[in-house]
């Protein structure tokens, strides 16, 4: 049912990657994306692929999760491959049929782009697989905190994100419950045309809205009772600290980036 949807797809574990500081993880994920884009030839890209696979092995995330993260972007991959195949007309012609011409360059680019996108997606999903949403927002808040100097409400934004993330599972559970309750009264959500289906959502959406507002009010009240007044002077329960594993991770990523740069120079 709805519970199968993974939002904030955290996969608990105790690998070195799980234990890393979330700030370092975010920064290294960004450098990983940069690494993929500076890879100018297939050797560079191969280094990127090796990096992705090795990192997955270290993280201990099951490989079927890779397929799961790829599913939603499959249409994009297919579309870009088709466009690349059809519209790149330089290089030797491999196959021709009416107006369709496949050239060597086209195939090369299509494969190159596909590998790059796939690596990009599965590499960056590793961040959300190994970092709990709360750690993630904490990390983002700390990374963005210099922006406070120019009056960006970083803490408030992070708080909103934390609350939103915190309530996604609650709301999913609530939706599940309401759906079950209405189904128990014979609500039919699976058959009928689009209009009938939209109408069938009313018995679910109204109770869901009502309870969301109730929850929001209760939460606001509870925060106020604890004298919450924003980020000024707040200390944290979980202090983010850099450890040895973070240093290793930085060296590890730097080595691979160096590898990519070298392939660019030598090949």
């Amino acid at each position: 049912m709805l519970k199968d949807i993974t939002i904030g797809q955290y996969f608990p574990g105790s690998s070195p990657i799980h234990r890393m500081d979330s700030r370092v993880k975010i920064l290294l994920t960004i450098s990983f994306i940069v690494m993929l884009f500076i890879a100018g030839n297939k050797y560079g890209l191969a280094v990127g692929v090796i990096f992705t696979l090795v990192t997955y092995l270290i993280s201990g995330i099951p490989f079927k999760m890779i397929l799961k993260s790829l599913k939603p972007i499959l249409p994009i991959i297919i579309l870009t491959s088709i466009l690349n195949l059809l519209f790149i007309r330089s290089g030797e012609v491999v196959w021709e049929w009416k107006f369709i011409t496949l050239t060597e360059d086209g195939i090369h680019t299509a494969v190159f782009m596909t590998v790059r996108i796939v690596c990009l997606i599965i590499g960056s999903s590793l961040l959300t697989y190994t970092t709990s949403p709360i750690d993630l927002t904490d990390g983002i808040e700390r990374l963005l905190s210099p922006l406070k100097k120019i009056k960006v409400p970083v803490h408030e934004l992070a708080m909103m994100m934390t609350i939103a993330l915190r309530f996604i599972p609650t709301l999913i559970e609530e939706t599940d419950k309401i759906m079950a309750a209405q189904k128990a009264r014979g609500a039919d959500m699976e058959t009928g045309g689009p209009i009938a289906r939209a109408r069938a959502l009313v018995p679910i959406l109204i109770p869901l809205f009502v309870s969301s507002f109730r929850r929001a009010e209760e939460l606001a009240l509870a925060m106020e009772c604890r004298c919450y007044h924003g980020g000024e002077g707040r200390t944290r329960m979980k202090q983010l600290r850099l450890h040895f594993v973070d240093l290793c991770a930085v060296i590890y990523v730097a080595a691979f980036i160096a590898g990519v740069v070298l392939t660019n120079i030598f090949f």
Binding site: A181, A184, R185, G186, P207
Partner: protein
């Protein structure tokens, strides 16, 4: 004949993830028509998961559920009629109210059954009477009502489908003592009047002892026992080892027995205990006057 029967029913949450949890473990049950059954068990013992199998909201991981001899999930299209046969009232059912008026909300179930206008009207008014809602309340918005009233409307919404089996998941939770006894009283009224099977999930040993003809005890996803209240509450020690208890009055009489006051009978309702003590006092008085 058994109206609900399960065979090796097993349900596992989150199969293949680190969150895997067996919620119902190999349950064999047979529930006869017309009984009033209490379901007790510790929080997280799998009671709620179990009852959601009885009207096909959850699909068993393995094993089967039979309603009136018909095996669920053989034909998905048959699930909807089954849901009208086995009415399920969830915990905090007032959170499922959505219509503009109470009347419309109670009519939601019967309407889904495809009944005629007159039949729907008849059922809505009858169940409203049964749960103690006044005529003028029916035209009000359910969101204006008090918590207890809302709950009556929600329970009426399921009762109006006139299910053969009515299952209620903690219908009295979160209500004050008066609201509790009113809700439980009306469920008992309903059982008396309709002679339908009723299943009551509850945390209150007093409530199940008072109302139920049989008690189903669930412990860590398994059926611990399914027996009459007397036999169930006889096993006080086992019950307390699984985080449950026996009614307070049973404990009182256990202590009296330990103190050597006699009382060999198993007492699990206040009414019976009172009668026993009065009998004893009557006899004592009779001896004194002799």
């Amino acid at each position: 004949m058994a109206v609900i029967r399960t065979e090796n029913l097993t349900y596992v949450y989150g199969e293949g993830t680190p969150f895997r949890k067996v919620a119902v473990d190999n349950v064999d049950l047979s529930i006869d028509e017309g009984e009033f059954i209490g379901v007790i068990g510790h929080t997280g013992s799998g009671k709620s998961t179990l009852i959601q199998h009885f009207n096909g909201l959850l699909k068993p991981t393995s094993g089967s559920v039979y309603i009136d001899g018909e095996r669920l999930w053989d034909d998905k299209a048959r699930l909807r009629p089954i849901r009208f046969k086995v009415g399920l009232v969830f915990q905090y059912p007032e959170y499922q109210l959505f219509e503009e008026t109470c009347y419309k909300d109670i009519a939601f179930g019967p309407k889904n059954m495809g009944l005629s206008e007159e039949e729907i009207d008849k059922r809505v008014r009858e169940t409203a009477r049964l749960v103690g809602l006044r005529e003028e309340t029916l035209s009000r918005s359910p969101f204006e009502l008090s918590g207890g009233q809302k709950r009556r409307v929600a329970i009426a919404g399921v009762m109006a489908m006139e299910p053969k089996v009515l299952i209620l998941d903690e219908p009295a939770s979160g209500l004050d003592p008066k609201g509790r006894s009113q809700i439980l009283g009306l469920i008992r009224e309903y059982h008396k009047e309709k002679k339908n099977t009723v299943m009551l999930v509850s945390h209150s040993m007093e409530d199940v002892a008072k109302h139920c003809s049989k008690i189903l005890v669930i412990n860590s996803a398994k059926v611990f026992c399914f027996d009459t209240p007397a036999n169930v509450f006889h096993r006080a020690e086992e019950l307390s080892s699984m985080g449950l208890s026996v009614p307070q009055v049973t404990r009182v009489f256990d202590r009296l027995r330990a103190m050597g006051c006699g009382f060999d009978e198993d007492v699990y309702t206040v009414g019976y205990g009172r009668q026993l003590i009065l009998d004893r006092l009557g006899r004592a008085n009779a001896e004194v006057t002799k």
